[in-house]
């Protein structure tokens, strides 16, 4: 990536691109005149928060808009073809053949009814680039280059028979099928674990370099874009903030907004004094073995959570983090072991717990969208626990709701009668926090509360949680797969793998060597802002 790509011929230009979206029966502009130039073989990173218009601009590179959107102005020229003037047939001829698209969720983008190979062969055969036999041979070759296991036979599996990371690589291979000049990657690793993300990133970079393909790489993760892109363009609410090549952008961002993005990862919780040895933990998980059906998902899991302390439970998906939370809340009855709350045993089934026991342990969910009833107003959403547990009525209840809204830094008069659909993602998550607080609990489980949010917003949520903890002496169990979050908020860390606790201890010890090999793998897989990080890491791992 060191050679300069800007002297190569231009592949794609967008001039003053304007896109409108339809909302409430009127058209509103969502992309306000973006200019973009992409040279052959160049990788351009598009970054920004959700709603910045990254995906919309990415799709427009194919002359395509989502339902309910339209291109209202500007021009898009791909290799001399004006996509705005071209007929739909011409554009269809380009798509899949010369411009390909890799979606965020491969699991949702593959057709579950067809084998990978059939879906791979569709584009090249349809476009008349290869016949079926050639396409199959080519697929095996690409699967091998993508370092998929058993490349000869993996194509004959159905999408549900391969893992998420493999599926994402298979999708990238599929995008390469016609050897396109341009691939649009729309957050291809966002849904993956850090350890899997590395493999996909390496595979994508490898193949893009081998075939000298140009790419637009859309992501909200700065560290990822630093590894992938030659140039970075920052978008904010449909406008360009700035554009520069990766190294100078990372070294010296010009605009304030870009600087704030860069600074996000700076939040760190102050070191807490060690807990007195004789102190009774708020929650004590003791030797829990639990599972669904005959399979044990958790094996002998134990850890303590103290007042005013945050315990981060870390691991990949499938490691049993969320199952642990389900056991603590009583949704899943363990086979063995028990949960102690303030030293007293909790009934294993939530239906047998008293109202007060239920009140003491609250939960904040990952997806605020599904955690808030879309048909209830904020007043009812956060008023209900206060009404139920504390018996507040009428004026006292309204007062309490306003109070809670102030705590989560939302203006009460503005928000009290809104529906969840009238809030942004971060605001919804704040309502989730307020709902938990309304019960005046001692202990809150935060299940990946920031993973669906943009970094700036997530930062705000973490700070808020931190503030509330000191104010109300809360104990947190913080489930996450993101080690940056752990660094920011945890006092203690529990690393889980395949239902077992691999390592646990105070944060300061966990981030210092020596590590358990798995912890080491997790730690080293977190992308860093250094553009050479991936190259160095891969060389290091190969050397071993």
């Amino acid at each position: 990536m060191t050679e300069s790509t800007s002297d190569k011929p231009v592949l794609l230009t967008m001039k003053n691109l304007r896109i409108e979206g339809r909302a409430d029966e009127t058209w509103a502009e969502i992309v306000h005149g973006i200019d973009l130039t992409l040279h052959k073989g160049e990788v351009l990173g598009l970054i920004g928060e959700s709603g910045a218009g990254k995906s919309t601009v990415g799709l427009a590179a194919m002359g395509f808009t989502r339902d309910g959107c339209r291109i209202s102005g500007g021009e898009i020229v791909f290799d001399g073809i004006d996509l705005m003037q071209a007929s739909e047939a011409t554009r269809r001829e380009l798509r899949g053949k010369r411009i390909a698209y890799v979606a965020q969720s491969a699991a949702a983008s593959f057709n579950p009814a067809h084998k990978l190979m059939d879906q791979y062969c569709e584009a090249p055969v349809q476009h008349g680039v290869m016949n079926r036999d050639e396409a199959e041979r080519d697929a095996v070759d690409l699967y091998r280059r993508m370092q998929l296991p058993e490349p000869d036979v993996i194509g004959f599996r159905y999408p549900h028979q391969v893992s998420g990371g493999q599926l994402q690589r298979a999708m990238t291979a599929m995008a390469m099928a016609c050897r396109p000049d341009l691939i649009i990657f729309d957050e291809p690793t966002t849904a993956l674990d850090v350890t899997t993300q590395i493999e996909v990133l390496a595979a994508i970079r490898n193949i893009v370099e081998q075939f000298d393909t140009a790419a637009i790489y859309i992501t909200h993760d700065l560290a990822v874009v630093a590894q992938m892109a030659d140039r970075i363009k920052v978008l904010l609410k449909g406008d360009e903030v700035e554009e520069a090549d990766t190294r100078s952008m990372l070294a010296a961002p010009k605009e304030d907004y870009t600087k704030s993005l860069w600074a996000v990862r700076s939040h760190a919780r102050a070191e807490q004094p060690p807990v007195a040895a004789d102190k009774v933990p708020v929650v004590s998980v003791q030797n829990i073995t639990a599972g669904y059906g005959s399979v044990d998902v958790l094996q002998d899991v134990s850890f303590d959570i103290h007042e005013r302390r945050t315990v981060a439970v870390v691991g990949e998906s499938g490691s049993g983090k969320s199952t642990t939370a389900r056991v603590i809340t009583g949704l899943l009855v363990p086979r063995q072991g028990q949960i102690l709350f303030d030293g007293a045993t909790l009934p294993p089934d939530y239906r047998r717990r008293t109202r007060d026991q239920l009140r003491q342990a609250q939960m904040i969910y990952q997806m605020a969208d599904t955690a808030l009833n879309p048909k209830l107003r904020i007043r009812d959403l956060i008023g209900r626990p206060a009404q139920m547990y504390l018996g507040l009525q009428g004026k006292a209840l309204t007062e309490r709701i306003r109070n809670l809204l102030e705590l989560i830094e939302l203006e009460p008069d503005d928000y009290i009668d809104r529906l969840p659909s009238e809030l942004s993602g971060g605001q919804k998550q704040r309502i989730g926090i307020a709902r938990a607080l309304a019960a005046e609990p001692k202990f809150i489980i935060c299940d990946e509360v920031t993973s669906a949010l943009d970094q700036l917003v997530a930062e705000g949520i973490l700070k808020l949680l931190d503030k509330l903890q000191t104010e109300f002496d809360l104990a947190y169990m913080f489930i996450t797969h993101d080690l940056a979050t752990v660094k920011a908020i945890a006092d203690e860390v529990v690393v889980m793998k395949e239902g077992k606790v691999i390592e646990q201890g105070p944060k300061s010890e966990m981030f210092q060597p020596p590590h358990d090999p798995y912890t080491e793998l997790l730690l080293s897989s977190v992308p860093e802002m250094d553009p050479d990080w991936l190259t160095d890491l891969l060389r290091e791992r190969d050397a071993r």
Partner: protein, 307 residues
């Protein structure tokens, strides 16, 4: 030439309907409160026309004794009189005024269909939501019972039950409501099954909410859209079922005016090229089409589709 005139008539009627719909919507937007106004603006002309027709039917049904020129059951003259100034639509096979019976028929047929549909929804949606929320053996028991009821063809089953229990209006309503509630049950259950897995239901359960509150506050509001749409469709089916039963002689009993039996009673006239017996059928068709126009609009809104 005849074809051309027919076609022009067709176009004229459609245009008139749409114009009526437009006029209705304009007036409705002017007189309704703000929240309703915004919703009405999204109504296409077809839906406006549908609403207009439904409102006219309701007015006719409610004020039937005031609107109808003659009583429902009085024999007023010779049979099968042609249309004239006294009997605007002539008389039927017993010499009763056709227009008056058509107007009273709206009251009987529409009223009973509405009561039946409401009852079917009450039974079906409560049981469906309950089955989805509680799950386990209750779900199994209810669902298998519904399967058994659905395995028997609806028309034959209702004929059978009506023969056994007699043909009073009450049994008619109950029998059709129970048969139709099985369809509502299946819909309510499948919609609720997608809702009970949401995090906010889990949160409500963990909060310690009771079953009734869980169903009425957390699940039902989110299941409303498909249920309302289904209500419109189900209403049409019930309507047709009652008319079909009446046509077969097991629905509303004479001398009550009912659109289904009115077609049957006067069917002889069709052979003479008179369209009078088809007017009740036309009234049924117009209402079902109108209801579906409105339902389509609501479904479109509920599904959140743009364009």
């Amino acid at each position: 030439m005849g074809f051309l005139i027919g076609f022009l008539w067709f176009v004229a009627v459609i245009a008139a309907c749409m114009a009526a719909g437009w006029l209705f919507r304009t007036i409705a937007i002017a007189v309704t409160p703000k929240g309703v106004k915004k919703e009405l603006r999204t109504a296409p002309l077809t839906a406006s026309f549908g609403m207009l027709v439904i409102i006219i039917y309701i007015i006719v049904a409610v004020f039937a004794p005031l609107i109808a020129p003659f009583p429902e059951r009085a024999v007023l003259g010779a049979e099968y009189l042609p249309w004239d100034d006294v009997h605007l639509l002539g008389t039927d096979n017993l010499g009763r005024d056709m227009l008056s019976r058509l107007i009273f028929g709206a009251r009987n047929t529409v009223g009973i269909a509405f009561a039946t549909t409401a009852l079917a929804f009450l039974i079906g949606s409560i049981l469906g939501l309950l089955a989805a929320t509680v799950g386990g053996w209750l779900d199994q028991a209810l669902s298998r019972a519904v399967d058994v009821l659905m395995a028997i063809p609806a028309l034959i089953f209702s004929l059978l039950l009506l023969t056994i229990f007699g043909t009073s209006i009450l049994t008619l309503i109950i029998v059709i409501a129970i048969i139709d509630s099985t369809r509502v049950y299946r819909l309510a259950r499948s919609v609720a099954l997608n809702i009970v897995v949401m995090d906010y239901i889990e949160a409500a359960k963990l909060r310690g909410e009771g079953l009734w509150r869980l169903i009425t506050r957390e699940i039902l509001p989110n299941a409303m859209a498909p249920l309302v749409a289904e209500f419109g469709l189900r209403f049409c089916f019930v309507f047709l079922a009652i008319s079909a039963l009446s046509f077969l002689g097991l629905g509303l009993q004479p001398p009550m005016a009912d659109w289904g039996s009115m077609v049957k009673e006067n069917a002889t006239l069709i052979a003479f090229g008179d369209i009078t017996p088809l007017l009740p059928a036309g009234a049924i068709a117009l209402l079902t089409v109108s209801v579906n126009f409105v339902v389509d609009w609501q479904l479109h809104r509920a599904s959140g589709l743009k364009e």
